[in-house]
Each structure stands twice: as C-alpha cells, then as structure tokens.
Symmetry: C2
Subunit: 698 residues, 2 copies
C-alpha cells in the first residue's frame, strides 16, 4: 500500500477542532478551510460547529468516507481517539498531539500504545508530535503553522517542525514551491523510508528533500533509497554530524545516533546527495528541480569580468567538476565573435564592454562545444548591458541547448527582476560565484549517482557449516572473545590464511612444522592471553629443530602469566615474507542503525596515527569493496608507489567481500578484526584475527 | 609618507573630464560633483567648462593646490599627462586609463614608463587600469562606476574593478558601508601592502578587506600585515587558489602566481584571515566591523527550536569554536527560568512556546556564564513571539554584556525588520545556522591572531664564513648541485650531522673510520652520481677491516657508471641507529612572491604518498617552527604514539630554525633538502643533504 491517499484525501476530519483563539485545533481547521479543495470536517464532542462547519462527536459519526484524520486532541486521550478513528475505517492519521516519546518514560509508554494501535489496524500514521502535513496539489494544509507552501515539485520531510515553519516563510519569499511537506514528528509508525518510497513513486515529486536527526532503520533505508535515487534525487541534511551535534540531537529527540561514519557510508551507498547545511540543502534542491542533469563534469564559465571568472574557476577547482577544454572549432568561433582583448579560453571573458548580444553569443558557442556539460554565467554590472536582457538571453540559450546552467548576477537591487526571470526558468542565480558552481556540483553528484549501475553483492561459495561449527564450539566453551583459534572461520569463507594449524602437543607441532616449507611462526593460543607479544607468546622464524622446545616454552609462559589460563594450544604457521607485502586491516563492527559496517584500511602506524580507514554498510558489492580501496589516502602505496610492485588489489577487494559475507551470514559476530591482512603482489593473506561473538545469536 | 592626502583631498582635478555621454571622463566628473565636499576641477584643453565647472587646459593652470589628480585621458598620452601632473606638484594620482600591462608588450612598456615617472616624482599612484577610488568621509567618488559607497568602517581593495561595482550594488542593498574603496588596477606603483599599511594607521578603518589575485612582494607584505593585524583585522580572498583558478588568474592579469602553499603560509604568518569566497569575505567583514572579539572560543547556543539548535551545534563542531559547558550556577538559573521541557544544557532550548521575555532571559543567563565567549541566537517563527521584539532584546543584551553575538532568524519576509534592528547594532543575522556560526568563527580566528605575540626569529651563533667557503668552493668547481660533500654547511650552522668526513684516499678513509666507534657507512661523493644507491654507491655497516677495499670498490663503481665522473671522494660516516629514530625531511625552495619557503614533514612513504608536509616563509621564528611540527598529520608519531619514546621535538624545532637561518643568509641557495633528518629521543641528525646553488648570488 502506498501513501497516495494520505496526500490526496477527499474528506479530512480534524479531530479536536475548536474555535478557541490561539489553539492548535483552530489553526489546523483554519489552514484546511483556507486551502483544501475537498471537504474539511471538524470533530469535537463538545461543539455543534467549528468555524462555520457542522461538527461531529467522533469520526465514526461523520457521514461519508474520511480519508485522513488529523489529531489535535490532548495527549492523555490521544491513543483512545486514534483507536476510535481506526475502528471507523480511516487509514491515514496525522497525530499533531505532543507528549509522547519526546517527554520521558510516561510518554514513551503512550507512544508504544499508539504504535500498537496503528499496527493492529494497519494505519498510515504520521507523528505524533508533528507539525502536520502539506500537499499542495489538493490544497491540503493539515498543519498549525502560519504559512502554507507554494506549489512546486520538491517534496520535503523534516524531523524538526520548527524548521518547516522557518523554511516555508523563507521559501515563499523566494518563490520556491513544494509538492508535499511532512513533519515527521516522533516517527512512531511512518518514517523517512516510507516517504522516500512514496515520493519515489510520485509523478509530482522531482526532488526529495529531508532534514533528519537520525534514520530509524539504516539497512532498509539504503535499499529503498537506492531504488528511488535511480530516478529521483534525494538530498538530505543529517544533523548531529559532529560529536557535539550528535549529543545535542540525542538530547533533543532521544535519537540514539549511529556513528557518523555509518551515516556517511550508508547515505553514500543509498545514492543520497548529502548537504552539510541549510544553504546547501536548498541550493541543491533548486537546481535539481529546475535544471537537467549534465552529461559530463566539464563546465564552461562565461563572464564579463575577469576577477569573478577566476572566483568561479577556483570554486570549480574545489569541486568535483572540471573546467572544460574547448574544441578547436569552439576557439575559432570565439575568436571570430569576440574582440581581441577577450579571453577565448575557459573561463571565457567577453570583457566589460560586452553588450547582451556578444555575451549571449559566447554562451551559445560554449554550449555548442561537445565537451561542455554545464555552463556557469557570471556577470558584473556594466553600463552597456541590463541584467534583465542578459537573464532572458540565458533562459533562451538554456532552453535551446538543454544544458544545465547556473548563474551569478553580481549586484543588489538591480539584479532582482533578472533573478525572477531566471527563477521562473528554474535557473539558479547567486551573488557568489562559488555558490553557483557548488549548485552545479550538486547536479553533477546526482548525475553520477544516476549513472551508477547497482550490482548485487557477490555470493561466494563458502563452507558456512564449518564456520557455524567453529562459532558454536567457542560458544559451547563459553568463549565470546576469539583469536587465532578462529582462523578456520576465514578459511571456511575462502580468505587465504597462512599454512599451519593449532596443535595441542609438541609432537603435533613438529608434524605440522615439517609439513610447512621453511621456518615457522609459533603463537600461544589462549582466550586469557589477549596481548600475546607482551608475554613473549609469539616466536617468528622457528626452525624445525626448535619446534618442540618452543612449544613447551610458549605454554610455560602462558601458565606463568596466568596459572589458570585456558590454553587452547599453539599455532604453528607458515612464515610469510612480510617485507614484500603491505599490512592492511579489514574488520567489522555493528552500528545500531545500519547493522554490520565493514572496515578497510592500511595497518600499522597508519591505522593508529592517521586513522586511514574507510567503512561501508554490509553486504558490500564488488564495486563498493573496490571503492573502499580507492578511498584510503594511502591507496597509492598499494598501487606501486615508491617503485614497489603493486599488490594484488583484486584479491584484496575479494577478501573484503568475503568478510562482508561472513559477518552478514552470522549476526552472532559482533566485532571482527583481521589485522594484519597482508597484501602482496600475489595475493592477500589474513595473518591474525580477533572477534567477539554473541552466543545467543547462534 | 602616508596616503592620507590620497583619501582626504580638498581639491581634485579630473584630467580628461568631458561632457561626452557614456564617456568615462563624464562619469568620474559626475560622480565627484554628486558627492565630493571639496572642489572638483575639470582639466581638458579642448573644453571651456565641463558640467558647469570651468575647465583648465592642464593641471599646472589650475589655481590653488591640487591634492589629487584623476586621469581618464587616452592611453597613448597618459604617461605624458602624468608627467605634467607630477611636475605641477601633485602628489596623488589615480590612473583610470587602461591599455597598460594588461594589453601586451606595448602596454607593458608604457607601464614601465609610467612607473619611472612616478618613482622620479615620488608619486602615490593608483592604477593604471583602475576603476578609481572612493573615500566616503569627504565624499570622494573618483570612480566611473554606477554606485557610490555608503559610509562605514570597512576599507576595501580589489584587483578586479568589476567586482567593486558588483559589491557596491550588493552592499548598498544591505546597508553595508565603507570607509575607503580602492580599485588596485595594475598596481604599477601602489599595491596591497601600501593600502594595508595606510588603513592600519587609519582611525576610520575597523576592518581591511581585499580581493587579490596576487601579492607583489610577499615578504614585505607579511612584515606590514603582521603589524597591522595586531590592531586591525585583514580579511582577504586570494583568488587563483586552485590550479585551474591560478591559471585563469594568470591569463586574466598576467600575475605570475606563487604557489598556493606559499600564499597559505605567508598569509597565515601575516595574521590575515583568509576567506575562500565572496560570502565568507563579507560575512567575516560584517561581524568584525560590528561585534567585539570573544575572550574564549566557547559558544552558547540559545534557541526556541531543537532542530536548528542541532544545526548550529554541528557547525560549531566543524569550526574552531567549541560548545560552552555551563557553570553549575548557570544551570541552576536556567532551571529556575525555563519550563521543565526546556533543555538547559548547551544548546539551550527555551522551546517553541517561549515568549520574548523567556528567550531574552535565557540569553542573559548564558551571557553571564564566565565560560561563554560568544552567543549564537537561533529562532524559528512561532505564534508567541515577534522577531522584532526578539531582535531588540538581543541588541540590548549584547550591548550590556559586551559579548559578541551572531543570530539566525529563520524566515523570509517576516525577518526583514528584525534584520534591520540587528544590522544597525552590528549583529549579523542569517537564515542558515551554519553561517551565523561561521561568522563567529571568523571573529575567533582574528581574536587568536590578536593574542599572538610576535617573536623575532632567533639568530643562532653560526659559522657563516665556513658556510660561505663551502659554497664558494663548489661554485669555483662549477658545481651547482651539491650532495653529501656539502654536509659541512649543516655543521657550520649547528645542525647535527653524523660523525665522519669526506676523504680522498683509502688511507684517509681508514683513519676516519678508526676514529669512529663501531662500523661505518661509506658513500661515493660525486656530482655526477645523483642516485648513489642505484650504482651500489652506499655501503652500510662497513667494518674497519673492510674500509680500504670498500673505498676502492666505491670509486670503481662510480668510474664504471660514468668514466669521466668527477669523484670528490668517499664519505665515511658514523652508523646511526635508525631503528630508534623517525625519518623526517626538512628543506627549502624559493617562491617568486614570498622568497625562501622552509619545509618540514615526515620522511619515507609519508612524504611521497601522503604529502604530509608543511611550509613557512623564512625566516621562521621558534613558535612558527614549532607550529610546523604541529601541522603535520603524523605529528603524534613524533610524540610517542604506539608506545614509542617521543623524539626530542625541541631539537627538531631548532634544526628547522637553523636551516631557515642558513637559507636566509645565503640567497645563493636555491633549493635545499635534508633527507632524512633523523629524529630520535635524544636529538635530530641530518643524514644526507642535496642543494642547488646559483653561483651568481654568492
């Protein structure tokens, strides 16, 4: 079931409608009467009529089908009222009433009851603690705010109701319109995922915009958003990005924030364009709603003033865009069209004495160049050109070419009517050249997302049963923190490990050592010895002759360190040529919102000092795993910097995917670290492992 | 001589004034007549009068003293005209005429002539190719632009005239005023340094603002700006920051850009607040002109809406500011003043039903907290509070407390009059909470610059003569690229080097080796062998017994590599325990604008792959050298990360300063690399050196 009827009701009941001045019930009733094209019915057992409309004691008494009930009753009766509404057969409910989860344990209990009622009756319920919803095509303004929205193609959801009030006032001033606006409130039932899904299917929505303080279910949000963003851009401000912000958000909404790294990875994997602040959010929305997507990331800057042209160029350098190189034919045309003092290279400077015709011709020539994906027009006031004429010329050229355009009309009052001309054509204009370029960059971001082809994570042929046995064995022993004794997990999932085995006698140790070519590494295996090196529990380069004594010595050291230590044995392992390799790490931890996050980074000092790591929400696909290697700053080291032989990157990428499959298959694995994962020109080998398990999940 | 009379003339001659419609000469005359309080005299040999004023054939004929001549004559006669002006005794000239260095070699020649005339007569000359100058107190508007500036305390210089036109239109619209405005033009005589100096001494200027595409003389700019910024903030956009931008700037103005790294370091050392774009430039200027400096970097956020409060908090997390922790007494006062549902911790949420009084009281309580250095007020529209009332309350509280305030009044039209109230009190207000916070951050930046105490670079007691001899020796041999044979340079400047010497016979080699404890390192020393390791020209751990043979072998290898190679000898060096140390690099290269740039970074893979280096303009002081160590991302490694012993950081900082002194003393050193400079817990030792010299500078 979609949410169409929520936004396109024919009959809306305002439950708790009243005439009392200053009340929320009056404000909602007033707003609905002012704009709604359908029928608005007040429900109030204590009123005959409200604002001239006949009132009914409850929703069941309302004649005809009610498509949407807006609830503004006091908190203590809200759950019962919603139950009554549901029993009357209404499917859509917006609960404006506050006093739920945001107010402490009593409110949280009430919210659980509300959710139970909604689930029982399969209600599409917005809120509670919501400002309400707006849908402009039918004139639904079921909010108690002072402003209605203008019609437009942006659909906007916000976890802050106050922010919606502010945005509407601001947007109305700028002529920015909306399709639907939703104040999410406490998200007891419907959350961001539901609206993203609904708007993805909605013809009237060109851009989905959101202000979120948290995402309820990260993994399912990613799945839905990934599908939506293949057709419709989603731009989000996720607040609480910083440590300070996250703790402020937590105290404000009770949201338990997942880590910022998880949000960053998850939203990126979902194809969401992320805005850092309000300006970026609406700049991105405006250009996405108004302009076509660029086919290349190359921008032509056309200006009548050198300095501002340089500013635009700097902003291009800061962005993911590039400055277009013009084709020879384009340069020839510029040479013919422009005076000698003009600059025909990008940024094109038509110079200060350019009348509109020359400026417009230069824009046209730039647009004709096959390398040019977008155009940034930058103009300063001059005596020979009026902004209005230039604006009209830009609108014409944009429409003809079908290329996206952003503009920078630098001035105050004298730019106002030009702004309107451009705004009507969906072309953004700013004073600051950097802002015009940044908005083109948002367009590019989304164009790249659109071009992504979604690849399912590879399912490798693994020995899942063997892995389960290893985990069960540990659980049966009561071990929740495992070390090298669990290397078999990796082997079962096809992650290369050094030759060798864990043995429990010196004789076995010799047997294993003899089966391995060359000297071996021996390590004590005990859940009670977490830092093996500290007690001399690791020996590198043991010759076959010394294996017996080394075995006994390692066990003695462990017993000496902790007399009652559980000794699982000694690991006898092939000695890898670490010199030829690069130490990396791969691992996983679980995020409360997004579930398992796979991590990759360079090992050693890089990890500890430079934190050169990256994460993705599991399961990761092959391109996502490859992107992880791209992401780390030290990636060139893996690719043969300093005359090294490049490592087998494909194999590293495969190991990341196999680990992703392992942690996805076993929710019992809470945390996992493969450190080091040694990458060499011939492969990638996991040398050590640590993990924490939750036996109850097995 | 200062520039006072340039900005405060009593009599101004407009040379080339005319009544011709659309001409620059008419526009300047018109602008002057419209606003200038003194006397404006047209000079034109072909006119009796211009715009009702009696015209004179030349400046010499003008009765009375002319304080400023504005030149708008055609380019071909401009130099002669300026000469005539100078000979008439005028000291200040603004050359609006174009057709100089910006137009090619003929123009460049003309510009050199103009500079020669100015130098001969000690003229203070602005331009050529300038839009003109404005100084609001006396109503000087010697520009041909369409707008005059409002009065204010910001003085603004720009290398782009068009940008000034745009800014004035925009600023007038927002009520932003200026003291002086200068279009720098081609900077043939007066440049950014001169205006920074003049405005630093000017009572009427509170903030110096600039848009620059290049700085003519970096070192002298730093010296002047450093003094000015101790009292007056300087905020600059230096465009051409990015590679694309730099090349655009070069083609636009012919500016040969120094490296961005040099600008970044130089402007930082000069105490300049750097803006990345136009919005940042004016946001910083507005708050610096309007608000006092904070005494701490802790900000209190007071809001009536949780969500926008979180946005402000995120922006604080992104900035150099911190979220203030309130004192217990403050929390107690909040508890008393605010309803139970309010958040009394920072960000303080007075909640949506707050009337102005409650909001204002919360602001006051926050301001009383001794930890709070600045306040950010964030408000959304609500039914119980008008923005105007809140604005007035904020203005009152700000004035009483003396703390800086930035505000975010979120809305459109309904915020307009509140904006005016706040604007008149110098309190910035924006829609986006992030922008309000960023402007407070600019204030903090400058507060930190003000608190800096300038320390002269240390002059170490060095053996300058010995260094000069080493350089002369190389120059006499015709060597311009030196290696280990120049280690003596470091020794002469007190930079620790390993024990040892360069020898020219196997017998000498043995003698040196025997004087050194333990095994030695031996390296071939030849200007023809740049990559010694490649030919086996380095031997590590040579025992005394093997020194003779090793000597012969090294020489043989060099001869084998290149039969006519110049062999300067063999270096016999103490074998350092590199395991205990960390390889760093220190070096220098010369920037066309800023002169010698000292570099420091971690060595090895860090430098090559991660480019973890930092630079400063030499000479560097002790705090600047210490700041270089702070700057590198891997600094924790030097400070004992991973259980290492911290290195002797003080000694590293001293080596940087000594190298700075060396390259400052000898302009003949064009480039220098000490790689590695091994930092250990007990010191820092330069193991190898490479440098390039220019013998002509010796």
């Amino acid at each position: 079931m979609g949410l169409e009827t929520l936004f396109t009701p024919r009959r809306v009941a305002v439950v708790g409608a009243t005439e009392r001045e200053g009340s929320v019930g009056r404000a909602v009733m007033r707003n609905m009467l002012d704009s709604f094209e359908g029928e608005t019915v007040p429900v109030n057992p204590n009123a005959e009529s409200v604002l001239g409309r006949e009132a009914y004691p409850d929703v069941a008494s309302v004649p005809g089908e009610v498509d949407l009930a807006v609830v503004v009753v006091p908190g203590r009766v809200a759950v019962d009222v919603v139950r009554g509404i549901a029993e009357a057969g209404v499917e859509n409910v917006v609960v404006i009433t506050a006093g739920f989860g945001e107010t402490g344990s009593e409110g949280a209990r009430r919210e659980r009851e509300l959710r139970a009622v909604a689930e029982e009756h399969d209600l599409d319920l917005v809120g509670p603690n919501s400002l309400g919803i707006i849908s402009t095509p039918a004139g639904v303004n079921a909010t108690f705010g002072p402003e209605n929205a203008l019609e437009g193609s942006i659909s906007f959801m916000s976890q802050s109701g106050a922010f919606i009030t502010a945005v509407l006032d601001w947007a109305n001033d700028r002529g920015i319109g909306f399709k639907d606006v939703v104040s999410l409130g406490n998200k007891a039932v419907l959350d961001e995922r539901d609206f993203v899904e609904a708007w993805g299917d909605d013809e009237g929505t060109d851009v989905v915009l959101g202000y979120l303080e948290g995402i309820t279910d990260g993994a399912s949000f990613i799945r839905t958003a990934r599908e939506v963003t293949a057709e419709t851009p989603i731009v989000l401000v996720k607040s609480g990005r910083t440590e300070a912000g996250a703790s402020a958000a937590a105290s404000h909404t009770g949201t338990i924030a997942g880590s910022e790294a998880a949000y960053e990875a998850g939203l990126e994997q979902a194809g969401v364009v992320r805005a850092e602040n309000v300006q970026e959010l609406f700049d991105a929305a405006s250009i996405l709603a108004g302009q076509p997507l660029p086919e290349t990331d190359s921008v032509a800057v056309v200006t009548n003033a050198g300095g501002p042209g340089v500013m635009a160029t700097d902003a291009i350098g800061d962005s993911g865009l590039s400055l277009a190189s013009f084709a020879d034919e384009t340069l020839a045309r510029f040479e013919e069209a422009l005076p000698e003092e003009a600059n025909i290279y990008n940024p094109v400077d038509v110079i200060g004495d350019a009348p509109v015709d020359r400026f417009a011709e230069a824009i046209e020539i730039a647009m004709d160049d096959p390398n040019v994906g977008a155009v940034c027009v930058v103009t300063c006031p001059t005596a020979v050109l009026t902004f209005d004429d230039l604006a009209s010329a830009v609108v014409g050229r944009q429409a003809e070419s079908g290329l996206p355009v952003a503009t920078c009309f630098m001035g105050g009052e004298r730019t106002e009517s030009a702004r309107e001309i451009l705004g009507e054509a969906g072309i953004p204009t700013y004073f600051d050249p950097a802002r015009a370029v940044e908005s083109l960059d948002a367009l590019r971001s989304y164009a790249e997302i659109r071009e992504r082809e979604y690849v399912e994570p590879t399912t490798f042929d693994v020995d899942r049963e063997r892995a389960r046995e290893i985990l069960r064995g540990a659980a049966d022993r009561g071990d929740t923190r495992l070390g090298v004794e669990a290397m078999g997990l990796l082997d079962a999932y096809g992650v290369p490990i050094p030759e060798g085995d864990v043995v429990s006698s010196p004789e076995e140790a010799i047997e294993v050592a003899e089966s391995i070519e060359g000297d071996v590494v021996m390590k004590i295996v005990s859940p009670d010895v977490l830092h093996k090196s500290d007690i001399g529990g690791v020996r590198v380069g043991v010759r076959n002759d010394d294996v017996y004594d080394t075995y006994e010595d390692l066990v003695a050291r462990a017993k000496n360190y902790q007399p009652d230590a559980t000794i699982l044995g000694v690991q006898v392992q092939e000695l890898l040529d670490l010199e030829a390799g690069i130490e990396t790490i791969a691992g996983m931890n679980r995020d409360p919102q997004f579930g398992p996050l796979v991590l990759f980074g360079l090992g050693g000092i890089f990890v500890e000092v430079l934190e050169d790591t990256t994460v993705r929400v599991a399961p990761v696909s092959e391109p996502e795993a490859a992107g992880m290697v791209d992401d780390i700053r030290a990636a060139p080291l893996l690719r043969g910097a300093r005359g090294r032989r490049p490592v087998d990157e494909e194999r590293v990428v495969e190991v990341i995917q196999r680990l992703s499959q392992l942690v996805t298959d076993f929710p019992a694995i809470l945390e996992l670290d493969v450190n080091p994962l040694v990458a060499t020109p011939d492969g990638a080998t996991a040398v050590d492992i640590r993990l924490t398990i939750d036996p109850d999940e097995l």
